[in-house]
């Protein structure tokens, strides 16, 4: 079997494809062959031009699905296309809530393995090889699919840069969604958006993150003040998100946001593997932590061994004085 048709599972938010979707389309294009997209977006026609501009020549649309979680119906729709001989040889997903659910359901439906959390993909003869960082990103493991396709793989956000292809608007093909019965009967009753001001965490040029070293929820204010002064976004370690100090949307790490800003300031963060995976790609890292042995210092360009409660207020004052 050759890998000639590659699909990207396209997700959207606020009427536009997500950045991960555009990154995957760009990468898919570089592998050669036909690049197409599959989406459950309610607004497939609206997002199709942007998908086309990044390389998709056709968009299979299975939406709108209404108020159900998309994983089960999306997987059933893709499985039906594969079984009818109209599926891809390789299907790329983002490591996201919807991507994970759909890929896993599809894996079970087609009896195909999945390779997850990857940062690279290459064709290996008639097969596909993907690369996954393990041990906090210190080791890279490359794995090849050995069985029949289609091959299913997911990729961490920001593994690839999104670039336009100059392609035109793709054809939008509406596909049927098979009845998924009880397995697909999950109803979304309400959606809650946790408002935050300033640049988006995963797009900000400067990110200031706080961790357990802040000592108490009230001290997160220091992180927010510093982020505002630097026109950046505040972030957080999993520890203080789990502790309920800040909403989940602030979390930087393996199960949170992957960030690659120009400057990352880690305040009171020791640098657990979970966190490092999410911020190690930052261009410049500044770490402030009391514990000189904290793993965060092994990746910091500037490390301050000190108390965040002393260093941050002085830093904030100095920046305010500079105007």
């Amino acid at each position: 079997m050759s890998v000639s048709t590659i699909w990207v599972y396209a997700e959207s938010a606020d009427g536009a494809p997500t950045s991960s979707t555009l990154e995957l389309l760009t990468k898919a294009r570089s592998l050669g062959g036909t690049v197409e997209a599959f989406t459950t977006a309610a607004d497939a026609a609206a997002i199709a031009p942007a998908l086309g501009a990044h390389g998709a020549t056709k968009v299979y649309a299975a939406g709108p699905l209404g108020d159900v979680l998309p994983g089960a119906p999306a997987a059933a729709a893709i499985a039906a296309l594969v079984e009818a001989g109209n599926g891809p040889d390789l299907l790329l997903f983002a490591t996201s809530y919807e991507g994970r659910d759909t890929m896993a359901r599809l894996s079970a439906a087609l009896d195909r393995p999945v390779l997850t959390n990857n940062v690279e993909v290459a064709l290996d003869g008639d097969s596909v090889a993907v690369t996954t960082p393990i041990f906090g990103g210190n080791t890279l493991v490359t794995t090849r699919f050995t069985g029949p396709g289609p091959y299913l793989a997911s990729f961490r956000p920001k593994s690839f840069a999104a670039e336009e292809s100059g392609g035109g608007a793709p054809e939008v093909v509406t596909v049927a969604v098979p009845d998924t019965g009880a397995a697909g009967a999950t109803t979304v009753l309400a959606r809650h958006v946790e408002e935050r001001s300033g640049p988006k965490l995963d797009e900000a040029a400067v990110v200031v993150s706080g961790g357990r070293g802040l000592g108490e929820a009230g001290k997160f204010d220091l992180v927010e003040q510093l982020a505002t002064l630097l026109k950046g976004a505040p972030g957080a370690s999993r520890a203080i998100v789990d502790a309920g100090w800040v909403p989940y949307a602030y979390q930087v790490g393996q199960t949170g946001k992957v960030v690659k800003p120009n400057v990352y300031i880690a305040a009171g963060i020791s640098g657990a593997t979970q966190h490092m995976v999410g911020m190690k790609g930052s261009k410049n890292i500044i770490a402030i932590n009391k514990d000189a042995e904290a793993p965060i210092f092994s990746v910091a360009d500037l490390g301050i061994v000190g108390d965040v409660h002393k260093v941050l207020p002085k830093l904030i004052e100095a920046l305010q004085a500079k105007g």
């Binding site: 896993a104 359901r105 009967a185 999950t186 009753l189 789990d242 949307a249 301050i304 100095a318």
Partner: protein
């Protein structure tokens, strides 16, 4: 109300991980512990059964070599019994192979009202096994729960999203994956630890479940590791002790980067 919790016994994450150079798989020598991620599911299950006023919490787990130390922790927390699938052929199982085994184990435990699992394990963090399990069992599923309630034959979940959270509901039986922090796991009491020693662990092999050995383990994984390489290491930069003036270093660094 009966709840089955999927639990994984993993090498202690505090000990740095190592790959076996011969097989390129994670070394799993030494004592295994209950994955901390799973302790949230166990606690959630215990609380839901309490709130329902009856029923029990059963565990399902898979291990290549009869390991039970992690299971005993969950039993000591209050789970009633466990099904442990232990078989040498399971070595090298991938996420789907694991889900196939767990699906049979859940059926053996007695199909419950609710299956709980962690969103992902702390060692493999594939994050797909629970959803594969739900698909194999034909159950609806809600992943990334940060709050779980059961009432009137339905489970209602606050599910994390990119932007915040959604309130999602589905009918029982269902599968839910919980995040760390959904509840505060209890510490096993001395009484619980003693009681756990005599709680039943139903140890079965792959053949007992009616599964084809070729569909699980290394044979069923249909993937091979091509290479293992060290990632380009990030060099540590300048590290200084704060003498009260260290903030000036930060200011200078930010100026040099033209951020200010």
């Amino acid at each position: 109300m009966n709840v089955v919790v999927c639990v994984k016994q993993i090498p202690d994450p505090a000990v740095p991980g190592e790959l076996d150079p011969a097989t390129s798989t994670l070394k799993r020598e030494g004592k295994l512990i209950l994955d901390e991620s799973d302790s949230y599911g166990v606690e959630m299950a215990l609380q839901l059964v309490d709130a329902a006023g009856g029923g029990e919490v059963a565990l399902v787990s898979m291990a290549p070599n009869s390991e039970t130390s992690g299971l005993r922790t969950a039993l000591a927390m209050g789970a009633a019994r466990a099904v442990l699938v232990s078989d040498p052929v399971l070595a090298g199982s991938d996420a789907l192979g694991t889900a196939k085994v767990l699906a049979k184990a859940v059926e053996r435990a007695g199909l419950p009202d609710l299956v709980l699992a962690a969103t992902e394990s702390s060692d493999g963090y594939t994050g797909t096994t629970p959803e594969q399990l739900a698909a194999l069992l034909g159950l609806p599923s809600i992943t990334f729960a940060k709050k779980v309630e059961v009432a009137d034959g339905k489970v209602r979940v606050e599910r994390q999203t990119e932007a915040g959270y959604d309130e999602v509901e589905c009918a029982l039986p269902a599968l839910v994956t919980v995040t760390a922090g959904v509840v505060e796991p209890r510490y096993p009491s001395f009484k619980g630890i003693m009681a756990a020693k005599s709680k039943p662990v139903d140890e079965v092999a792959v053949a007992d479940l009616g599964l084809d050995a070729a569909s699980v383990g290394q044979a069923g994984a249909r993937q091979e590791i091509v290479s293992v390489a060290a990632a380009e290491a990030r060099q540590a930069g300048e590290i200084i002790e704060d003498d009260g003036e260290a903030y000036l270093k930060v200011v200078a660094f930010l100026e040099q980067l033209k951020v200010i």
